[in-house]
Symmetry: C2
């Protein structure tokens, strides 16, 4: 597939702050539902969202070529790439078609803070992998201290499990502290109540564009052509519930209560300049999982926390997408290797992406090492083993180049008290 990479020196006639997540090199897609208007696919540029339906109404984007842009339906990766190029053409500084059309401009631009961004695509299926090798090692060290940190299958299989698609929420929506069954050590019976170990998980995810039929597979070579782009994923977790329930069929209610995704689908086209080979895989994967080219991405990841008492967020962790052992292409190839049909809009998350050392971990579980090393919130002196009610967790992701940044915006959620 031909990818459209915006030249590094391209400029828009829209003024964009050099630290903005959304320069003309990015042009990610989202779904806006601004007050008093219909839902529409939008593209971010600077601090504005550009309504593509309004551009169609003004005759600036072909209505024949693209479906009604009130959702992403029918947009394959290739069509999305061409659509992105059409938007680029309207925004680049040499083009006056939109710039000089005041009426169209007024209808098409929505300030980001008024866009009311939604989950870009409510996913029919949500799968969560476990491809962050440092995270898997840390969990192994904590829960199986007498064994090697990684299970024997880890370097052979992109381990994953089916998550819950009905509880994927947009950035900004509160997440209610779940109740669940927990068991303390000893002979006491388990109890049921609000989780005491509410956690986040720092992940990235990709949306599937066109799917695959039952019985057929998508190869690692073809996999990226089936992806619309990437989002940040926070897969909220209840660690005490997880410990008690997860044997033998895996995590269930400890994860199913909520997953927050960031609002912008950042295309692989925009991330093309940030490709890397990624970490070596040893032993080499079986042929059906073999990587090609540079299948990983150098994307900085950050987690911020702000308690109710704090006036501004504090940086909690800094990681990078390069710490994935299994590439996105390997994940999708594995998912379909048994003939499972995948569909437009399916969301596949990477699993928690932790870096190799303290301060780069992607969950409270690791950052506080099971709560044994509480974190201090500098501004207020509060401490945290896990998340408290009112804590706002914000994840950010960006690829930084000389002169511009390809950012994902924020993936934010605030812990709400358990319902009575």
């Amino acid at each position: 597939m031909n990818r459209f990479v915006v030249p590094a020196d391209a400029k828009s006639w829209i003024s964009v702050d050099p630290m903005s997540d959304f320069p003309i090199q990015n042009l990610p897609f989202g779904l806006a539902a601004p007050k008093g208007r219909n839902e529409a696919v939008v593209v971010a540029i600077g601090d504005q969202a550009l309504d593509l339906q309004a551009l169609q109404a003004a005759g600036l984007i072909d209505e024949e070529e693209y479906p009604i842009l009130d959702s992403f339906i029918e947009l394959t990766g290739e069509r999305l790439s061409r659509l992105r190029q059409a938007v680029f053409d309207l925004l680049v500084d040499s083009n006056r078609a939109l710039r000089d059309n005041k009426k169209a401009r007024e209808r098409a631009f929505i300030p980001l803070d008024k866009a009311n961004l939604q989950v870009p695509i409510p996913p029919p299926a949500f799968v969560d992998f476990y491809s962050g090798i440092h995270h898997a090692s840390n969990v192994g060290k904590m829960f199986r201290p007498d064994h090697p940190p990684l299970l024997p299958n880890y370097r052979w299989i992109p381990i994953g499990y089916n998550g819950r698609a009905s509880s994927v929420y947009p950035s900004g929506e509160g997440v209610v502290r779940p109740k669940g069954q927990v068991k303390s050590a000893g002979d006491e019976p388990p109890t049921w109540g609000p989780t005491l170990e509410m956690d986040f998980e720092l992940e990235m995810g990709f949306y599937v564009s066109h799917g695959q039929d039952p019985g057929k597979r998508i190869t690692t070579t073809a996999a990226e052509d089936h992806m619309l782009g990437l989002v940040i994923v926070n897969d909220w977790s209840a660690r005490d519930v997880q410990r008690w329930e997860y044997q033998p069929l895996g995590p269930f209610l400890a994860k199913s209560f909520g997953t927050t995704v960031s609002p912008w689908i950042v295309t692989l086209d925009a991330l093309e300049p940030f490709r890397i080979k990624g970490m070596d895989q040893e032993p080499p994967p079986l042929p059906y999982l073999r990587n090609h080219g540079s299948p990983h991405f150098d994307i900085e990841l950050e987690v911020w926390i702000q308690s109710v008492k704090m006036s501004k967020p504090q940086l909690l962790s800094r990681s990078n997408m390069k710490y994935l052992y299994w590439s996105l292409a390997q994940q999708l190839a594995h998912q379909t290797s048994n003939g499972t049909p995948v569909e437009f809009g399916d969301l596949y998350a990477t699993g928690t992406i932790s870096g190799p050392e303290e301060g780069t971990y992607g969950s409270m579980l690791e950052l506080t090492w099971r709560g044994q090393q509480p974190i201090t919130l500098d501004e207020t002196g509060e401490t945290r083993r896990f998340l408290e009610d009112g804590d706002m967790v914000t994840m950010k992701a960006y690829a930084q180049s000389d002169g511009f940044r390809i950012g994902f915006g924020a993936c934010t959620g605030t812990v709400q008290p358990a319902l009575t």
Copy 2:
């Protein structure tokens, strides 16, 4: 909720064989797609499917009261119950409205073998529980021989996991033998190819009618009012793939390639006379999981197998739904206990239902005890450790009363060779 129980001595003006699954006491709902006609919700009676849209067109079922009956959408359990009563009124021997309307009758009745029955509702979510205690014990004995067969959480939590909704197939559709990664004992690296341990799982499942919002739960008392009814579920499995992949996040590709459901949603109204208290739960469940009344059902279950060489199927196993440790109401209450939203059409399966002794097990894994005790197919002398290509597996379920049987029809699937 008021349930409509058809009197045991009620008769229809349609003649029904006493051994039929579909007497007037049953009246289950399905989705037909007969050649040259639109999809329509149908009700089974004897060897006929009754097209409810045709009845609406003839003015025999209220179009105001019920939505367009080309799918189950908007049918809560209560509305479905009233609709079933309306169909009963048209079929009972004393009523002549349909019986004497030749034109309506000709349009409304479809022979079952021409109905082309579909998955009744393509489920937005598919969850598989593990509530068959004899199955869980058998698996424990095989895979953890040095430990108690049941894990410590089994009698406290209705263990379950998220399955794959995109691969739920109708009865009669072939299931392609999946490829997957398997690992033999010893130091050899794993290999990737067609599973050598293709298996079925004998399960029942319930469809959700009206769902529940995020953050709220459905109590055990209310749970059955959220169910449309029951179906047979065959959750095909690849045991060699499962053994290698399932640690630590549970079964994934070993199960996601296919799940077959039977075509008829049998209502709880029809099953009312077959309620039982079920097995004792010790220790008593936590309050949020407490059962009420008689939450289990006495439903006979059968598995039949027919190889390519055989002229008729052979009975492989005979079990009963009473061998569930956790009731359906407990499953749904647990599912929503952490605030996970559930939706119309969600499918919740029970897990494999094995009886307590040999010959009553719900999977090849147990029937042949990991392949160590192959089964002989009497007609041809063939043996089976697991399923071979061309094997047709048929599951049946029925509740037997004096004079009538509430049956589910057949849940059938044939193993297709792996694709090259």
